[in-house]
Point group: none
Chain length 221, copies 4
DNA sequence: CATGAATGAGCATTCATTCAT
DNA sequence: GATGAATGAATGCTCATTCAT
């Protein structure tokens, strides 16, 4: 038996085997966001990843664990990237930092990761693990990051004194909502007439908040 | 023959029959928001309304129709009330109108109706009817109302020229998100330390946006 | 209170009360034949008789008892009538007796009683009472009647010697089958092209059998 | 590595998978005929085929489709076989052809296929598909076959001129009725005293009709 | 490792029957 | 008597999970 043909095959097999978890997570995210966790059939996840039902269970012991893995994977990754980005501009002007923020949201909104927010809102209550993870790995660090950003701006006299908590949420909540909307109503209905432009909204909203918190003489004329 | 004893009995029966739909809708909203539509058992809805499984189906032909009825009932009611409220202050100052808005959101947030927003985000994609209803009965009239409010402010020189669309969403989205959060992560996790106060946030956020769109010299010093 | 208006009302009520059982049986026969016993809803029977669900149970203690009453009523009645008719022509020629038979079948076929045969074939196995009733009240006396008719013809030299049992069934079975067909396939499909005429068939079939059992020289030329 | 132990296992599995549909159809026919379609529990069908509820639905998407498959399978098969048989004797004497007919009916009566006639009478009205199938696949070709047989007999001067339609039905209807009876009254009641012998009846009836339609001088003395 | 046939717990829905009015 | 609201047992069907191949 010639091994010449087997070796590349093994290589491909090897590659597949390593790629599997990612393929499965991607497929699962897609299906879960589309149909909701409870109404998603594990067979469809498997099919969309190009494997059979049985194979899915080789990698994740249950549908629930798969869900948690999806959330951990996609959210952890994006948040870490965002934190690094902000850290790199630590000393920048508020306007610059807000720009970095807008960029990050734009990226998240455009990526599949945006769907994870829908999953969290949908499933958090059924799976407290998810709430805990979301709180400790996303909300907490995210809020701290933005809070520090705002506080530094205040200290430097570029931003007005404010309720840091509230403003932080004023920045974050509409962005999360935008992601949710994209995968909920937005996915099955076209907004009518004067259609809504997410990319524009992200910039506009960040700018609006910036204006709202800036000291008067730093406002753009 | 004294009918005195029969009358109240009939009255009670009658009252129940009329009250049933509302009791069922309330129970359904509760359960659907808590567990998600797909994982809610119709028997639990019935039980929480104090009736048996079968009775539920005497009033709503299917779980799905029950869901739609819940959304139509709670959302329609609140939106109508809000529209009337705003209409009554048609000529008021932007600040006053924003105050009316904040009050309305506060009421919705505190009422069970807040859960409907979670239902919509959760189920819209599976039941396009819901998306259509939400768009035509909530988003459309709500946006128009706020849009007009903003435009009038601009015309009178109290508000800066702005992208009406974006600002409208900047006002609405975080409020919707707040409702969602209340019934998702918020329902099973206590926010830690510097705890988040929704009532405060509603006021702060509305004020922030107001500041962001006001002409400079009308800003509170 | 004037009793003048009450008296006729009582009379009507009385009349209704007495007519009820028949109205219910007629409605039940109709519905049972149409939908099959198991798929018939007792509410529909009641509705078709113009009363409410509850009233039905005032007259018959269960759906099953209603079924048995239907069969007993319609079948007993027709068979008794047929027996009398035949008895009245006891001494007639075979040809005349066969004519009486054809007339009886024609009447049964045209009346709602035809449906009872479907009910029996459909439900006999689930309710052995029905089989027993059918056997003892219909098959037994009917066969005996026809058997005697044939035997007398043989004794008088008008009919050939034959297997009485078989011929009896040759007479009866297609007639029963005709009734069944009327309420089964015949009720939801039109026979195509050279359409089948039941009235004609009844005559033809009886004639065919008569010819088959007649002594050669009594055959119509 | 010896594959000797793996092969039979796969073979068994394979064999089961191929055999399943037939096993299920056989079990379904049995149960449906016994209890009636509506009162048959799909779980019992599965159990009688030796599999679990879920497996049934792996092969047939619903109880209704299973019913149609049963009818199509059993009836189609038998009718095709009968047609071939008759075709093979195309030029034979009427008496021979009638013998072939009697044989076919005897086979059908003895086989489980006889139950299908009960199913058709029972369910046709609830499922018009079944009526259509029965008409086009059984009644139509069957009648044509017998009609041609009779016509050829007339042309050759062996049979009297007759109403072909009626005689065709005189041949068929009692046979169908016999099948019905076997699974209805016959299945739960023993005919008393001078017991009825189906095999004898089939021969006798065919002979009776043959005698009824033969030209006088060809009648058996 | 991968497959997909088989399983059976779980749930929506129906409807005969009851009973307060 | 008559009504129809309420009940809950019964059953079709789905789908996560297992395991023999």
């Amino acid at each position: 038996m010639p091994t010449g043909s087997a070796e590349p095959a093994r290589a491909v097999r090897q590659r597949r085997k390593e790629a599997r978890p990612h393929e499965l997570l991607a497929a699962a995210l897609e299906v879960f966001v589309e149909k909701g966790f409870a109404t998603s059939r594990s067979e469809e996840v498997a099919a969309r990843a190009g494997v059979s039902k049985g194979t899915l269970y080789l990698y994740y012991p249950s549908k629930e664990e798969l869900l948690k893995a999806v959330i951990r994977h996609y959210l952890g990754e994006e948040v870490r990237a965002g934190a690094l980005e902000v850290a790199r501009h630590e000393d920048a002007e508020p306007a610059v930092l807000f720009g970095v923020l807008a960029d990050w949201w734009q990226r998240v909104y455009d990526s599949p990761a945006s769907g994870v927010f829908k999953l969290i809102m949908t499933e958090a209550r059924n799976f407290p693990d998810i709430s805990a993870f979301y709180l400790s790995e996303v909300i907490e660090p995210g809020s701290r990051l933005i809070g520090q950003m705002l506080e530094r701006g205040v200290q430097r006299g570029r931003l007005r004194p404010m309720n840091i908590e509230s403003v932080t949420h004023s920045v974050i909540l509409p962005m999360v909502m935008l992601c949710l909307h994209k995968h909920a109503v937005g996915a099955c209905m076209q907004l009518p007439e004067r259609s809504f432009e997410p990319a524009q909204f992200i910039r506009d909203h960040i700018a609006l908040v910036l204006r709202g918190v800036s000291v008067d003489d730093s406002l753009p004329k």
